[in-house]
């Protein structure tokens, strides 16, 4: 019988590195469920997929709008055997992979904003959020959470999102098979994650990331909690930090914050 659950399982079962697939019609948040599984010691490439989320979250508790039957909400467990200082830039790797996947299906260029926003035609098309923790055996895990606007139409979006978001369907006027997108997402993630681990960090993915990164040389404001920084974007370093030349000519490596073009 055709169902999203069956097609997801069929599609991801064909990928030999995927250890386990947990499907839910509805879940609070795929990241929360994947973290619960990771804490019990579940292995790398344990994958959670949901048709909808009732409490999908972005950075700082922002809501990630997650209606059923149209988009992708997935999270998975990684247990990278790399130096701890290279963990945070897996966030940049995740954004880059999503950009590659979207470009493949919509045949349009995707742009990356630091650290991992994926934009097409200046509109946000995906959300990526990661969690790091330790399990019962004191081993580190990373949960990567990815939401992609696949088949959502403007009528599904609340008003506050319509001007800033887009979807693969809105960009192409085509409806996509979500299971195929998931299959390609995991295939590409696995490939670039190996590259990232072998080449120890951002340098392993640098060329692919930077060709989609258009912020170099731009003036930006960075709001980081209680701090505000301004300057010109110079580069991204091997730890994935945004390198800024501040207005008083100081070089700063930024690890956190919301970046706004001036």
């Amino acid at each position: 019988m055709y169902s999203y659950e069956n097609t997801v399982k069929y599609s991801l079962d064909s990928l030999p590195f995927i250890r386990d697939i947990i499907y839910r019609d509805s879940v609070g948040s795929t990241n929360v469920l994947a973290e619960e599984l990771a804490r019990t010691g579940r292995g790398e490439w344990t994958v959670v997929v949901a048709d909808s989320q009732s409490n999908g979250r972005g950075r700082q508790g922002r809501v990630w709008f997650s209606p059923s039957r149209i988009n992708i909400y997935t999270s998975f467990i990684l247990r990278p055997e790399i130096s701890y200082e290279y963990f945070p830039a897996i966030s940049l790797l995740a954004g880059m992979v999503v950009a590659i996947v979207i470009e493949h299906f919509v045949n349009m260029p995707a742009e990356l904003k630091w650290p991992n926003d994926v934009m097409v035609e200046d509109k946000k098309i995906s959300g990526v959020l990661l969690a790091l923790g330790t399990d019962l055996n004191n081993k580190s895990y990373i949960v990567v959470g990815i939401g992609i606007n696949v088949n959502s139409d403007t009528k599904e979006y609340p008003d506050y999102i319509t001007t800033s978001s887009t979807s693969m369907r809105l960009l192409t006027n085509k409806v996509f098979d979500r299971s195929s997108v998931l299959n390609y997402l995991y295939t590409v993630f696995h490939e670039w994650y190996n590259m990232y681990c072998v080449h120890n960090g951002f340098n392993g993915i640098r060329e692919q990331f930077m060709r989609r990164f258009k912020m170099t040389g731009k003036q930006v404001n960075i709001l980081n909690g209680t701090e505000k920084l301004s300057g010109t974007v110079e580069d991204i370093d091997k730890y994935g930090r945004l390198v800024l030349k501040s207005n008083n000519n100081e070089t700063i490596a930024v690890k956190s914050g919301d970046v706004h073009l001036i």
């Binding site: 700082q60 701890y84 200082e85 963990f87 945070p88 966030s91 990661l130 969690a131 690890k255």
Partner: protein, 147 residues
């Protein structure tokens, strides 16, 4: 002796080849001992009797010695005391915590690192404000395992 004194002492030995440091001021004394892993883990605070109340034969009351546990930041990032700005903080001063319980978050590049209590006890000090930048190894909380 206040929160900042403890914080400054912890920062002073972090990353340096110092195993133990003791500092006294007025009627209080604090001793910090580095664990074998190199991470600053235990702070010993010795509460001395006030000089005016001291009997000549009992100048230092060692029975009041306490072991405190410092919870440090695992990497450079931004500290958050709550899951989101609209939600209550994970803990407050005096909150009872269990080992492994999430008591804060350090975020770097949208990687949210749950900060967990290193011991059962009560939260004695919260050394960072919500949204403040933190450095690697910087103390975030002091937990009193006997509190």
């Amino acid at each position: 002796m206040d929160v900042n004194d403890v914080k400054e002492l912890l920062e002073l030995i972090e990353g340096k080849d110092i195993i133990e440091i003791e500092y006294s001021h007025g009627d209080k004394k604090i001793r910090i001992v580095r664990s074998s892993s190199g991470r600053v883990k235990k702070a010993q605070e010795v509460q001395q009797a006030r000089p005016a109340e001291v009997q000549p034969e009992a100048e230092v009351d060692t029975t009041a010695e306490k072991l405190l546990v410092s919870v440090n930041s695992p990497f450079v990032g931004t500290f958050y005391c709550a899951p989101s700005p609209s939600e209550k903080p994970f803990v407050e001063i005096g909150s009872r915590v269990k080992k492994g319980q999430t008591i804060g978050i350090v975020e770097a590049m949208k990687l949210m690192n749950a900060i967990e209590a290193d011991a059962d006890g009560s939260v004695k000090q919260i050394l960072k404000k919500d949204g403040e930048p933190v450095e690697f190894g910087e103390p975030l909380f002091i937990i009193d395992p006997e509190g």
